[in-house]
């Protein structure tokens, strides 16, 4: 279990002190997180890491998981896909079953909380039965709902509209809702197996186990074998680079099991890589966090040539490891990578090849980009920033209506910087 002070060497004492001060201003509160699974998936991973930290900040937190039968999870999976824009038929019977499972869970739950954060659509309708058990209800949406299927969104919106606030991971996921919407970027845990520092021996051991040799510069893409991640485009780019510059390509990731196109894409990737000894395909189990960490740290250049992307946490992870990253100009990658500053954005396999070659021939620039990228992630996308945003949001939710909350009165001995006029929204 991570201790808040363990983050100090990574983010600085100032950030940890800031969190403690904010928590102090918020006061002792109870916070309930609700989601649909305790294992697997990014949300569970995030909650597991963050829960002990809340307690260390004086916020009594608990993590509740809704229970459901297989049919319920098939329905919520379909709902998830529909919210991400796929045409998925959801019958009235299915929606009724979904509602009934939410009601059953509400009857089973006995908790109360000052703040209730309900993650994603699965438990969204709990609010219908449990409104009075929480003072402030927040719906936290982790998925890309930028172009949801209309019927499913309308159904979900009836529940979401009852919340006091909602949180989205990107501005383009936000919706027309009758309450304040907040933007909290996803974050990574720098102490997790996927991101913690590894010794050269640890890295080498993983490479030996996976059969990856370091005889040439390594270009790596970590992603599901999914057409949106454009693995074929990466192979095309690699072949263009290889004409002039020796290097090897590692494509590591899992098959997109929930994507009907998954096996077809993987077969196409295998075919494209055939006869090329410097391309290695690694099909890894979903919990290979440690192995991914080692591969990222061993790589010389990391590519994420997505053509469609949510936030792009694999880019964040690569940047945190101080690597030069080349990303497709899509979704959250555009916000994370700026040319010649924190990485490179590309639009085509040719562009990707050009930037790979450029970086291989400019190691000093590659090093500088990696360094800036790490600083950028350290400032914005670590778990400590996530805690700070939640604390701020809870403070703001306690004062609905005002967009600016002054947590301290100006010191009487210090008149110089006291506001001469009320900031907008204050004191109303």
């Amino acid at each position: 279990m991570a201790n808040l002070s363990e983050y100090e060497p990574l983010v600085g004492k100032g950030i940890i002190d800031q969190l403690r001060r904010l928590a102090e201003r918020l006061g002792p509160r109870t916070l309930v997180h609700v989601n649909s699974t305790r294992v697997g998936g990014g949300v569970a991973e995030l909650l597991r890491g963050v829960l002990p930290l809340w307690d260390q900040l004086g916020i009594t937190s608990r993590w509740e998981v809704i229970q459901g039968d297989q049919t319920f999870f098939e329905i919520t999976k379909a709902m998830h896909n529909a919210l991400q824009g796929r045409k998925v038929p959801l019958s009235a019977t299915m929606l009724n079953h979904y509602l009934e499972v939410n009601r059953e869970n509400a009857r089973r739950f006995d908790w109360e909380g000052d703040f209730v954060v309900v993650n994603d659509p699965q438990p969204a309708y709990l609010i219908q039965e449990m409104r009075s058990r929480g003072k402030c209800w927040i719906w936290r949406c982790h998925i890309d709902v930028s172009r949801p299927e209309r019927q499913v969104w309308r159904f979900l919106k009836d529940a979401v509209s009852q919340y006091d606030a909602s949180i989205f991971s990107m501005a383009n996921f936000s919706q027309s809702l009758p309450h304040p919407q907040f933007l909290i970027y996803p974050s990574i845990d720098p102490l997790s197996d996927k991101n913690r520092d590894l010794s050269p021996e640890e890295i080498q051991a993983v490479l030996d186990r996976l059969g990856v040799e370091r005889d040439k510069p390594i270009i790596l893409q970590v992603s599901r074998f999914d057409s949106f991640k454009d693995p074929l485009g990466v192979i095309q780019a690699f072949r263009l680079v290889r004409r002039q510059t020796p290097c090897k390509l590692v494509l590591a990731g899992g098959e997109a099991t929930d994507d009907p196109e998954g096996p077809r894409i993987f077969a196409e990737v295998q075919e494209a890589a055939q006869g090329e000894p410097d391309i290695q395909l690694l099909l890894l189990p979903p919990d290979s966090h440690y192995e991914i960490n080692a591969l990222q740290r061993a790589a010389d250049i990391i590519v994420q040539k997505s053509v469609r992307e949510g936030f792009g946490l694999t880019v964040t992870e690569a940047m945190w490891k101080g690597k030069p990253v080349i990303g497709g100009a899509a979704g959250g990658i555009v916000m994370q990578l700026r040319n010649y500053s924190t990485g490179f954005l590309v639009h085509t396999p040719e562009g990707c090849a050009f930037r790979i070659r450029y970086l291989l021939h400019h190691p000093e620039l590659a090093r500088r980009l990696g360094q800036k990228a790490r600083e950028f992630v350290g400032r914005h996308f670590l778990m400590t920033r996530n805690l700070r945003d939640y604390l701020t949001l809870m403070i703001l939710c306690q004062k609905p209506g005002g967009r600016v909350v002054e947590l301290d009165a100006p010191d009487p001995e210090c008149r110089a910087h006291e506001p001469l006029i009320d900031p907008p929204g204050a004191g109303s």
Partner: protein
């Protein structure tokens, strides 16, 4: 004789912290006309966010374009000409947000008039109008002398630099007036330092550069004063 950098101030300076959470409005522009319409109709808080608050929300290591509108024109519309024009609207050169809105609307109207078509973006590159909510809190850091002030400024987060330099201009209601120079002006006799800080063209500086520039100015001016007193 006490060197100016060690002279006690009449009032100490408390560094404040500023926690900003962006708030998407759920409204977006898919082309330049929709951006123009948004600029005409949106709350001033939306303008505020895209002109300078987003600089704290996502602190980029360098500033290529100084506001979100210019950035969108370059990155989403692929129109660097428009991006350059939008970059030239310096919010700190205007008295209020109404004037800035007028300038932006005027610029886009004229631009659209000249090009006589309506540039649009690919799906996924829309402009999403946001505003922000903020909590302000006193940090644990206080300065009673210029030396302590420099040490504090070196240590505080960039949110504090933002709060005292950028946000202050709107809070205090006077352009070119920031908390730092205000405090220096009222507690020391360093008029040149005060005006040098007020002359920093903050629109084109990252927050880190603002911090470094102020520290260098203090070093330069307090150093000179120290030399004179010895």
């Amino acid at each position: 004789m006490i060197a100016v950098a060690d002279q006690p101030a009449e009032n100490p300076f408390w560094f404040w912290e500023c926690f900003l959470v962006p708030m998407p409005t759920g409204k977006k522009a898919t082309n330049l006309r929709e951006l123009l319409q948004g600029l005409r109709e949106m709350e001033e808080s939306v303008l505020q966010f895209h002109l300078w608050q987003s600089r704290l929300a996502t602190i980029q290591p360098t500033i290529e374009y100084p506001n979100d509108f210019a950035l969108w024109a370059a990155a989403a519309l692929h129109d660097e000409r428009l991006a350059e024009k939008l970059s030239s609207i310096d919010p700190f050169a205007y008295e209020n947000l109404g004037q800035i809105r007028e300038a932006l609307v005027d610029l886009l109207e004229e631009y659209l008039w000249d090009i006589s078509h309506n540039p649009a973006v690919e799906p996924g590159f829309e402009f999403h109008f946001c505003e922000a909510a903020a909590a302000h809190m006193r940090s644990g850091m206080v300065a009673r002398t210029l030396n302590e002030f420099s040490a504090g400024l070196r240590e505080v987060g960039l949110d504090s630099v933002y709060f005292h330099v950028i946000e202050a201009q709107w809070r205090l209601g006077v352009r070119k007036l920031d908390d730092f120079s205000h405090w220096l002006d009222h507690n020391f006799t360093l008029p040149e330092l005060v005006s040098a800080i007020r002359d920093i063209d903050i629109y084109f500086y990252t927050l880190e550069e603002v911090r470094e520039t102020i520290l260098a100015l203090i070093e330069q001016h307090a150093g000179e004063s120290r030399g004179e007193s010895e």
